[in-house]
């Protein structure tokens, strides 16, 4: 079970409060699909993914990104029990969506990079460490029910 110190929780929640979930979600998913094009394999029905600008402007990418990041927000409310919080989503990603858990790690890393670009100097090494721990915890929780 991942344990977050009070300092780590503060680093995470104080930044999260300033994040525009809709924008950041679209950006995170968009960047994942551009930087790691093989991840597009899960989104055949999303329409035009033919270029970086097509992907970043694609309304389905934005909508889905918002959905994913909103659920991430739930993780932040349940940092002490990520496995419990993501149990159902884990089953869904395994049984219905068939997503390789490596993709959760890739998306988590992309999210950290986006936060760094938004927050600049405020995104100190200590803050990055807390966030990398969180995204790793979420990725593990999402993979937990795989069989």
């Amino acid at each position: 079970m991942v344990h977050f110190s009070a300092e780590e929780k503060t680093a995470i929640t104080s930044l999260w409060g300033k994040v525009n979930v809709e924008e950041a979600g679209g950006e995170a998913l968009g960047r994942l699909l551009v930087v790691y094009p093989w991840t597009q394999r899960f989104f055949d029905n999303f329409g035009n993914l033919s270029s970086a600008s097509a992907i970043m402007g694609n309304p389905k990418v934005k909508a889905h990104g918002k959905k994913v990041l909103t659920s991430f927000g739930d993780a932040i409310k349940n940092m002490d029990n990520l496995k419990g919080a993501f149990a159902k989503l884990s089953e869904l990603h395994c049984d219905k969506l068939h997503v390789d858990p490596e993709n959760f790690r890739l998306l988590g890393n992309v999210l950290v990079i986006i936060l760094a670009s938004h927050f600049g100097k405020e995104f100190t090494p200590g803050v990055q460490a807390a966030w990398q721990k969180l995204v790793a915890g979420v990725a593990t929780a999402l993979a937990h029910k795989y069989h």
Binding site: G30, R31, V34, V35, A52, M56, N109, V112, I113, I114, A116, S117, H118, F119, G120, K121, F123, P125, G126, Q128, A129, Q132
Partner: protein, 141 residues
């Protein structure tokens, strides 16, 4: 490997780093050691809490090597051959650590360039640094 557009983006970002190799390198190492403490196992000579001078010195060396790679994107193997030998025979850094360094590199770039760190730059640098890591570990066995 890298298209002409990707090379242009790598060079474009490098122009923003050139001249600041020491401070970028130091921040890169500080982030690496803070976020992924196990990586410190390769830097025993810097001690458990490397000071600023040590980070700047070693960071500069690493970023200068990245600069060499940027100048020779069309022939990384030849340009990085001595470094590849060093990593294979002396340093023997487990290949799983390179993605950790690359993640921290991207975070350094993103936090400094902020809105200017476009998705195309991120894609080009990720691909470029991954290519450098492949060359550096190619002679391992």
């Amino acid at each position: 490997m890298l298209s002409a557009q990707e090379r242009a983006r790598v060079a474009q970002v490098w122009d923003l780093i050139a001249g600041h190799e020491a401070s970028f390198g130091a921040e890169l190492l500080l982030r690496l050691f803070t976020v992924y403490p196990s990586t410190k196992s390769y830097f025993k000579h810097l001690g458990f809490c490397p000071d600023e001078t040590q980070l700047l010195t070693h960071g500069q060396r690493m970023l200068e090597a990245v600069g060499v790679a940027v100048q020779h994107m069309d022939n990384l193997r030849a340009a990085l051959s001595p470094l590849a030998d060093l990593h294979a025979q002396v340093l023997r850094v487990d290949p799983s650590n390179f993605p950790l360094l690359i993640q921290c590199f991207q975070v350094v770039l993103a936090s400094h360039l902020q809105g200017e760190f476009t998705v195309e730059m991120q894609a080009a640098w990720d691909k470029f640094l991954t290519g450098v890591a492949v060359v550096l570990t190619e002679k391992y066995r």
